[in-house]
């Protein structure tokens, strides 16, 4: 095929591809046709590190989405090894804390509600609230 025709075909292909890319990606990536990035997309990107945990959770509990969520959340709670002489005191049903509140021990089977709270300084933190029922 003539080199010039090849280039024209490739140019048209590039234009079609970019049109498809723009019309399919823009609504997900940007907010209402403005350069502002969609917060939903940011949340998806921030969730990427949890994908291996989610996959493992799906494999462990294929039929129970609730248990899957619980497993993912459990994996995200930071773990620590307190010293042997650390004393724990009950602060809620199934939850104990060390005297200086540096460590929290949660008994297996304790139901916990997760809430996202925005602090006065603008930080967003996730709070675990034990359910007492």
């Amino acid at each position: 095929m003539n080199n010039k025709i090849k280039t024209r075909i490739k140019a048209v292909l590039a234009i079609v591809l970019s049109f498809v890319a723009v019309s399919s990606v823009t609504p997900t990536l940007f907010l209402a046709n403005t350069p502002q990035v969609n917060p939903g997309f940011i949340a998806i990107v921030q969730d990427i590190p949890a994908y291996p945990q989610r996959l493992a959770a799906i494999l462990r509990n294929p039929m129970s989405p609730e248990k899957q969520d619980g497993d993912v959340l459990y994996g995200q709670i930071p773990k620590a090894d307190p010293t042997d002489d650390t004393e724990f005191f009950p602060i809620a049903k199934g939850v104990e804390a060390s005297e200086d509140r540096s460590y929290v021990k949660i008994e297996e089977g304790t139901k916990i509600e997760v809430q996202t709270v925005t602090l006065e300084d603008g930080r967003t933190v996730r709070v675990l609230i034990p359910l007492t029922e």
Binding site: T7, A11, A14, L17, T26
Partner: protein, 98 residues
């Protein structure tokens, strides 16, 4: 055509003329059917910048893209048109058109 030390080819002169006409149309409120004058002016400015960066050998690909982009301003929002214009250059590069 030379303006001082700068050389302008026919297309660049026509693009500059188009942007001047659009500027006048906006200033004197001349109607341009279907097209949004500000959108067109934005696109023409972007085209002038990219035309300045692109060697004259790629004029044909640039011409096809320019025509399609101007046509698309009739149908899709300006933000998508601008994205389309820049992403097309990326695909031009990937497919070795430019």
């Amino acid at each position: 055509m030379y303006f001082g030390p700068f050389f302008f080819d026919t297309k660049e002169i026509f693009l500059i003329l188009a942007s001047l006409l659009l500027g006048l149309a906006i200033m004197f409120n001349w109607p341009i059917w279907w097209f949004d004058k500000q959108v067109l002016l934005t696109i023409v400015v972007l085209m002038l910048i990219t035309k300045g960066l692109l060697p004259a050998i790629h004029n044909e690909a640039f011409f096809i893209l320019a025509i399609v982009t101007i046509f698309l301003t009739l149908y899709i929002p300006i933000f998508q048109v601008v994205l389309f214009f820049f992403i097309s250059f990326l695909f031009f590069r990937l497919l070795r058109v430019i």
